[in-house]
Symmetry: D2
Subunit: 358 residues, 4 copies
């Protein structure tokens, strides 16, 4: 069923498989007159790109984007923007052994059951290669939000059991972009990096979390009752490969609190209405309240291991497989721009929608 | 913006405010020929009803449902089913003091900012009274799923810091329905109850989590990439009032694991393909794999306290408010049927959609 | 499948059957702060009401509307507006004879085939009673458009072969409302009335067309390529019971013309850009151009005749049926407010959408 | 606003401008396992292609399609199918003169007003070049419908005032494809051709109608009340460039009839339930009844003339323009495959949806 679209009035529709000809995304509903800075799109893609450091997959993809339509003389025209990103370094033969086997915790079995067939090459459509489409589209969303004063930053807040302990307000976004883990806290980044390297060297993988902060969002974005801002953000984040959970504001910790401890008290400061705490995560009743929005996304460890694993093939027989191909020991660093891109796509849709009612 | 609908081909659209004339829901896309057992709908509503025990709000709502359309001679006709539930025990005057005040961690300020006006009576549209619509519609979804062999159960898995420690497979669903906390573990239920009572008696409130399990779901439900089954479940759960987080399968804990520990190994048992563990939570690549689906939903403590709280009014002046009205010290027990109802609504939509492609 | 909704951000969802408990409509996406004039809604319903003249069905429906939600202290709150209209004068027994028979050119056979069951009483969901929902919702749409300076008028432009020959600019809208045929041309109204009366007296029915004109619509409404303004209008009009065709601007006549004759030449008049002719019907490339929008809707004759007709019953046997019940010999006069209502619903949706991009 | 998608579960999303890099379409929701015959897609594109005869535009477009995704080893995988068609023979300089002028009855002025900017080259997004996307996607829809026994044929039923007078049942579909006008009646085709040639030679253009017939459609397709089969067909047809009207079954002529003349009487023939006449056009109450579906689409004359026309430029000054470029004197012959393609897209969506409820 048609399900490769995200957004209501600013909507992306995506296509492409890991080891097919390439990826493609149509942005439908981009306002006209936006200056489309292709170097910024490319920069965002580079943040997601494989091979950017020693702890990411060594697949070599230039991820060079072509804009096919919707942009004329450097500006959006209001027409749909089709962007193409070719697959350059696909190696389908890496996947010959899994053509008939169901890899553990991959989507092999479920695609097989659902479609009766599958493009086994690198997971086909279920591959995280799809996220290149989101990052490209998200870059354009960011350009629009930038003009509206809305700023989105994400960083890796935990790898395995190693967590960033500093408060969100102390996150160093610049540092985050400069270390290979994308950790916003210098003191934690080294131990995270060490953990990932150790994990990689043992042929294993490891999970973690990404925290995202949205600043400058005006009050009033989000729609009751089934398009609450946090519900749309959660839906988008849960669409990311390997995502296992989403929480915003106080999140699961908040469920342990008492109301007297959790409630955010309003005060009318010189610079406007503010809450003295922000357990609400900038969203109340599904609508932004003007405070910073923040949320956390949990990712499981990558399923492809460089060690032997037992599984079953399509004939129902037991087989042993071992990852070939080129894989990330930890998706977290590359998940950062993906989380930001989806957040931008959700925000720009709500921001445009809110204008319809002003 | 139109945002009070959930679902794609089996879709509900809802209306109503806490202290208005009543609630209403239209189910659009219900298959024809379903026997509509109104006593079952009523039973589900009774599970959500206020006043059902000493630890729920004492508001007295009969929640008697009327089916206005779409059912003829006891069976669905394929036409939209409009159900009405009147508000009987509304006491708008309980809210006079907050007509001008923004209650902490409620949606008062955000509705005010978004709409320029608000129905302050009991939160108006932002009230959890809305969930009565979902439970009524969910009851019909459950009837359909029942025929398809899909069974949905939820229970309270934590209150504050008290957690159910037994595995999901040991949950006692019958017991859960028989104790006021809806805890699936007899040994934990007493301490949970004590905690809620203590909290209530101190005028405070407390949060917790609900765990939901879906059994009998065939492999193949869920749609890549933006209608993954868990993403649609997450979106629905995050739409519940006071929800702060959603995780499925291994969830946030899974983010701390290594791949070798987390991967679910396939085995071809006598009774078909199974995974030996179920960290995937029954969903891989966004598609059900035939194993039990399970997820957890985090709820913050209720924002209305029976103690004094500082806040600000619409004029920007500091004021002190104190809950009147009748409120739950802990929403968890009543959240159980709500979680189940939304899960049923998501499942039935995906189940029907999957048939289109068979 | 969910299909009882119209509109994208201002969306109605409807329910109800001809001889069930009543009708209901939810407006989702109505802006907050709109003064809801219930007497105007009632007035619009009265224009559609059965029994308003000697040439309409004698079914007696007060069509008294109740607003259940979404309006507080006389103004819309931004929450969904649920309106209910009870069925007061239903006489299901009038339809006993057709419980097993498929009435010619009704939806009896198709509903039976699609749903395996049907509510035969007065056509159930396929009845034009549904349109009461649209007129109620359309009244609120008109209130919003009124503030935006957009004015919608419709009138009967033909009955059978009798056509209004005066140009649209000469239509007398006030006169249209004062004669039972709703003909905008005094000289034609008498012959139309006579034709309808003759037809009625012979137990027969007759078709005709309604022409609708939208004035004050700013340039820029409508969305390429699959939500062109005229395509959305056409879709809405073709949703009306008994509708057989839709054309806008020059319409089918335009297909006979040469380009040199058909093209609308631009001129820059003192009062802004105008075309010297308006074969475009105020819409070019699917987008309003600031000129009056006009379109025509064709209705077939009512299928229920007061004479004997051959048909087949559910057992496949030949039977003879004859209309009982109370039916219109010509739907055209009552179709006028329905056409206007749907036009208003389409326009308000596009008008709000256009604001999102300003 | 996002509006470049058609369909609900089988949905296309399109992009591209007349004189940009090329066109692209994503089909989302194509069932897995369909054999994708690219030579058939190409054949359909060739039917729409410019330069195919002396009475079509001489623009030379190979319209060679590339399938980027969603097809593996010759079969659909269930993943979105992205197809690209490059623009090879674009000549943007042909449009230099209209960069500042608003061409009469084109979308120049409305795009300018809506977007504040426009890609003037050949109409940009408003060009009928877009329809190449529809024909490519429609070809795949036809392959699916073919397996379901549903057959779609269209032909030119009038050019200017010259109309095909034979009944639809006598249409010669093979002949239609063999004459340049795509007229289904040999005796009329010559006079149509002569008329088009005369019109072309005088630098003028002419309109006409296309009639489409759908055979083999089972009873039960179409959804009350806002996705009636004919309303969805009408919506799709009205999305075609230059379309001015849509009617199905008896259409506008039906509005002149009496009920006793118009009603289609059911009879239970040896080969099942049939109506003795088919004024309903195969659709009753918005749902297919098993009889042939037929409808007619009106097209205005092409707006670009090879003669001088007065108009106004963006500065508001009067200017004279004259078509350069390469244009069709009559779009009708090339509209035939476009009408068929959209009909196929609407039908396949409804056909899949109907399966969800079986």
């Amino acid at each position: 069923m048609a399900s490769n679209s995200l957004g209501r009035i600013f909507r992306i529709t995506t296509a492409g498989e890991s080891h097919g000809a390439g990826m493609g995304v149509i942005i439908d509903g981009c306002p006209a007159g936006i200056e489309i800075d292709t170097s910024f799109i490319q920069k965002e893609l580079d943040r997601r790109r494989p091979g950017q450091s020693s702890i990411t997959t060594q697949r070599k993809e230039g991820d060079k984007i072509t804009i096919q339509s919707g942009v004329y003389e450097g500006k959006s025209t209001g027409a749909p923007i089709l962007m193409l990103i070719p697959n350059e370094d696909s190696r389908p033969s890496d996947y010959d052994q899994v053509e008939q086997a169901f890899r553990p915790s991959h989507a092999d079995y479920t695609y097989h059951q659902k479609y009766g067939t599958r493009d086994h090459r690198g997971g086909g459509r279920s591959s995280a290669r799809e996220t290149v489409n989101w990052v490209a589209a998200g870059a354009i969303a960011k350009m629009i939000l930038h003009q509206a004063g809305i700023k989105i930053n994400a960083a890796v807040s935990s790898v395995g059991s190693i967590q960033v302990e500093i408060p969100i307000s102390a996150f160093d976004w610049e540092f985050a972009e400069q270390n290979p883990v994308r950790c916003p806290d210098p003191s934690t980044s080294i131990s995270m990096l060490t953990l990932i390297e150790e994990t990689r060297d043992s042929g294993d993988t490891i999970g973690g979390t990404v925290t995202c902060v949205i600043e400058g969002c005006p009050a009033g974005l989000g729609e009751p009752v089934f398009h609450k801002l946090h519900a749309d953000l959660g839906h988008a984040m849960l669409s990311i490969n390997a995502c296992k959970g989403f929480e915003y504001g106080s999140g699961f910790e908040g469920s342990k609190m008492r109301g007297s401890e959790h409630n955010d008290v309003w005060s009318n400061a010189d610079d406007g209405m503010k809450t003295t705490t922000n357990n609400s995560g900038g969203i109340q009743g599904g609508i932004s309240n003007g405070m910073p929005i923040y949320f956390k996304v949990a990712f499981k460890p990558v399923s492809t291991l460089m060690t032997n694993q037992n599984t079953v093939d399509t004939a129902g027989d037991a087989v042993i497989i071992k990852g070939k191909g080129r894989h990330d020991p930890c998706v977290l660093p590359r998940a950062v721009p993906i989380v930001e891109a989806l957040a931008a796509l959700v925000l720009v849709d709500h921001w445009l929608l809110s204008k319809a009612y002003q």
